[in-house]
Symmetry: C2
Subunit: 247 residues, 2 copies
DNA sequence: CGCCATGTTGATTTCTATCAAATTGAGTGG
DNA sequence: CCACTCAATTTGATAGAAATCAACATGGCG
């Protein structure tokens, strides 16, 4: 693979600061959302010793499909898109990782998708082997990871229904409802503003549509007074409309 | 839910024989394919004591979306379709379970999809709670289950690419290549005949197409001498054509 | 043999993709 | 501060792949 070319092509940069100021798992803002919720205070201390902070700039590549998975990540801040690409350039975004989401649940040696920073990213980083060893010593962590993995499997099945059987309008409605639910969970309260830091092309590749269709449908929804488009996202005007359409 | 109506609607029957003749995990034909591969001989003995044989007729419903998951299954023989349905009747087949596949990896209390027998089915059945307890006492079993779950997650992501980004022809080619690979694995050698016990509608609902499109594409492939349609399946004539098209 | 579910084939429509162009807007440098 | 640039987005016109609508064929099974 020609990494240099692909990096410049996407204007990617990554800076991985050594552990910065007061990184303390006990005060972690996403602990209650992440697999760390499985751990007791003393276990958190052990985990913290294994962790290092990772920062990525917008558009940076965390890892690529087929890359060796030397490290795993717990996203602390920002949004990451998970991408599978076809040889001819067609892309499927298989998911967006938000704060609290874990990359590397499978503990497999190689990645099966690419991860690209949609925004600036802060993440807890662990060496995969060390994390795997730790999880083997802490069965409740492994069990939590398994629960997270099977939860994702359920989400993946939801997404198959969306991709296989929903119309463009239903796809967009489902996506916006999903993002509202997920941001609300991250914020800890109902989010009025639904942040959409990813571009229209990312949304299109997530929903199996073209960028033009995404743009048309969202703007039609605005014309129909179902939502308003605001900087960095949208707001629901007619929540019922979305709840009725969404998967 | 009106189970009676839904049962008659699908002509479902189920017969669950008490453990029949020589059921012995050690001689199980799908052990090397299933999660049981994680277990030692003495553990297999314990597992066997927990298992009961389950037989289902063609079209029987093993369980429904939202049902409580009182039991989990290891499929020994036959094909099961896994289905998610929308209120208006639209269906997405999220997968087909073949011999060696496990239903209930998530160990969650409720099912998130329905499972329907495409053919007559034989399965090892376990009470979920008992299986969960067993897996907690045998960490390598839990780890194997986690590996199976994350493997399925990878397959789910493959399927998202298929649903979101492939053409009808590519979808069919990918499906047929997948079935050839999976049957070959079950048989232990390259399968010449690619068995397709599921109907055209099931294939359509798996690929996000209509039955007419599935029929047209397969028959066009036959006219183009890419495959031959035979009773209960198809045979590849031009393997390269399929390998080039498939995901 | 004839019935009914399943599958195939044909005609037409529709939704979304594609092709093309205009607009917006964030960032840059004068 | 403002013109300029370039990427991202929006909008419009047209094409095309697959869905829909509608017969018709097949074949397993009583």
């Amino acid at each position: 693979m020609d990494n240099t070319a692909r990096l410049s092509e996407t204007h990617a940069h990554s800076s991985c600061a050594v552990r910065s100021r007061g990184d303390d798992c006990r005060f972690c803002g996403v602990r209650h959302l992440s697999i760390c919720q499985a751990l007791e205070s003393d276990e958190l201390d052990l985990l913290e010793k294994m962790a290092s902070d990772a920062h990525f700039d917008e558009r940076a590549v965390l890892f690529r499909e087929e890359d060796e998975a030397g490290v795993v990540f717990n996203i602390t801040a920002g949004v990451v898109r998970l991408v599978r690409s076809l040889p001819d350039g067609r892309r499927q975004v298989t998911g967006f990782a938000l704060p609290g989401d874990f990359l590397g649940l499978s503990l497999e040696k190689t990645w099966h998708f690419s991860a690209e920073a949609v925004t600036g990213i802060v993440a807890c980083r662990f060496r995969r082997a060390a994390f795997e060893d730790f999880s083997e010593k802490k069965p409740h962590l492994l069990k939590k990871m398994h629960a997270f993995a099977t939860h994702e499997l359920g989400l993946a099945q939801d997404h198959m229904v969306l991709l296989g059987r929903l119309t463009a309008e239903e796809k967009l409605a489902s996506f916006l409802v999903e993002m509202k639910r997920r941001w609300s969970r991250v914020a800890g309260h109902e989010a009025g503003l639904i942040r959409l830091p990813m571009g229209r092309q990312d949304i299109a590749d997530y929903l199996g549509l073209t960028i033009e269709t995404v743009s048309r449908v969202i703007n039609q929804m605005q014309r129909d007074r179902r939502l308003v488009i605001v900087p960095d996202g949208i707001r629901f005007v007619d929540q019922t409309y979305f709840d009725d359409l969404a998967l």
